[in-house]
């Protein structure tokens, strides 16, 4: 490595340039985790539904989406996103590349989160539902006051892990022209001819963020967590990583 290829990293203009990429990465990740959580709740309950016409489509969505590469989803929305939403939002509608990326990421993540949420719910002892229903709580009230608060607490570590996955996966959104961290890096090295240095720099940023998050999630594993429930959630996670 030539020493002069590193000097640019102290240039405030370049740093600001990377900074804007980092902001885009974080913004994409947060938007995707929030959106995917909402979608995931719907499909987790859908899969748990007693009604087959709700349950089967939910299973199809979860299993179908999980079997696709995230990159494919992102590129699909990048190319086809605008056309897809025109029937809803009118013929002039243009889906921005940013939101195409968020959608691609969210769709994939929602399928994974839906399974994590479902595992959290089914891992709770049956007696919890029975006790709350026996008191006269409706199914919805029992979910809202008894089951979900416990299930969500169980899921915090798994959700944090998923957030770090999203952060790393945002690098794929660069392919449809969103200027996140990796894409900004590419702009820089095509000008300074130092791809290795740039990638090392970018890798360090990802590492710091993701490592900090995974450490934080360990701290968050507070209070009671039934052992059996924890094992069940881990099982789902592992299965997902293997997929």
């Amino acid at each position: 490595m030539r020493p002069d290829t590193w000097r640019m990293f102290v240039d405030p203009t370049i740093l600001r340039f990377f900074g804007s990429g980092l902001m885009e990465t974080i913004s994409l990740s947060l938007a995707a985790i929030v959106l995917s959580f909402v979608i995931a709740l719907v499909f987790a309950f859908g899969r748990l539904s007693k009604r087959p016409w709700i349950r089967w489509p939910s299973i199809a969505y979860i299993e179908g989406i999980r079997a696709l590469p995230v990159l494919l989803l992102i590129v699909y929305f990048g190319i086809k996103g605008s056309a897809l939403f025109r029937p809803v939002f009118g013929p002039e509608f243009e889906l921005s590349r940013y939101w195409a990326g968020v959608l691609g990421l969210s769709l994939y993540t929602s399928a994974v989160l839906a399974e994590i949420i479902r595992a959290g719910i089914v891992s709770l002892p049956r007696g919890q539902t029975e006790a709350s229903r026996a008191l006269g709580l409706s199914h919805a009230q029992s979910m809202r006051h008894i089951i979900l608060p416990q299930a969500l607490r169980l899921m915090v570590p798994a959700m944090m892990a998923q957030l770090t996955t999203i952060i790393k996966d945002t690098s794929l959104v660069g392919t449809i022209g969103v200027f996140e961290l990796v894409r900004q890096g590419r702009v820089v090295y095509t000008q300074f001819f130092n791809p290795i240095e740039v990638f090392l720099f970018v890798a360090a940023i990802y590492f710091v963020i993701c490592f900090a998050l995974s450490q934080a999630s360990r701290r968050l594993e507070v209070g009671y967590t039934p052992k059996a429930a924890r094992a069940k959630i881990r099982e789902v996670q592992l299965r997902d990583q293997a997929a």
Binding site: P125, G127, Q128, E130, A131, S132, R133, A134, L135, G136, L137, S138, Q141, H145, I146, P149, Q150, R153, Y224
Partner: protein, 242 residues
């Protein structure tokens, strides 16, 4: 108050309730005993529709429980239940466990529910544990909170499904004491239990079940002194000599 008429239920090939006829009047305390697998728990769980039945009728408080048109949540307000494994809500404190249903189901203001909750925890002897989470309570204390939680809805009937089976000997007493007080106050109670002592002292009637049938249904004193049925006699000699 509660009336079973020819109630049947299967679990697969097991005929778990085989033609149950049973009546329980207001203020009556009925103990259900019998060997495990005899259908006692299933029987008690049909009363608030935790278990569906296949045929026959079951009327609680004038309501046909298993009628599809019946609002089961409304029915359950009047039927308190205490489980073998307590089933307290671990993310809530003892007091919050007791306050939950009155505030969420009946819409009682928090202040009122709180006062009542503390009164009930006092009644079961653990007002000092109001702000403690269930994990920090002993089994006996947890079960007493569970009783307070069920009482908070002012039920007309209380169902106890083996309430002391998960407890150590020294904690059984404290739970039975609370139940005895309730019986004395005139609560209508159906209790599935192996506690012969409790049955003798606190119940009006004993129902003996075996193989999904009610084999004997007698006043308490008569049941223990001269049981009519041979199977009941055998069962009694086994549990008493243990």
């Amino acid at each position: 108050m509660i009336e079973f008429r020819d109630v049947h239920k299967h679990y697969g090939s097991l005929h778990v309730l085989n033609g149950i006829d049973l009546q329980v009047a207001e203020r009556e305390v009925v103990v259900v005993i019998g060997p495990s697998g005899s259908g006692k728990s299933t029987l008690i769980r049909t009363i608030n529709r935790l278990e569906p039945i296949e045929s026959g009728t079951l009327v609680v408080n004038g309501t046909p429980v298993h009628d599809r048109k019946v609002d089961v949540n409304k029915l359950r307000r009047d039927v308190g239940m205490v489980f073998q494994s307590f089933n307290l809500f671990p993310h809530l404190t003892a007091l919050q466990n007791v306050m939950l249903a009155p505030t969420k189901v009946k819409g009682i203001p928090r202040g009122t529910a709180r006062e009542k909750g503390i009164a009930l925890l006092t009644k079961v002897g653990i007002p000092e544990k109001a702000d403690v989470h269930p994990v920090r309570l002993s089994g006996g204390q947890q079960q007493r909170v569970a009783i307070a939680r069920a009482l908070a809805m002012d039920p007309k009937v209380m169902l106890f499904d083996e309430p002391t089976s998960a407890l150590d000997a020294e904690m059984i007493r404290e739970v039975l004491d609370v139940m005895r007080d309730l019986a004395r106050e005139g609560m209508t109670m159906i209790v599935v239990t192996h506690e012969v002592g409790f049955a003798r002292e606190a119940s009006n009637r004993v129902v003996f079940m075996d193989g999904g049938r009610i084999i004997e249904d007698s006043p308490t004193a008569q049941f223990f002194e001269r049981p009519r049925e041979e199977r009941a006699r055998q069962f009694l000699s086994r549990v008493i000599h243990h």
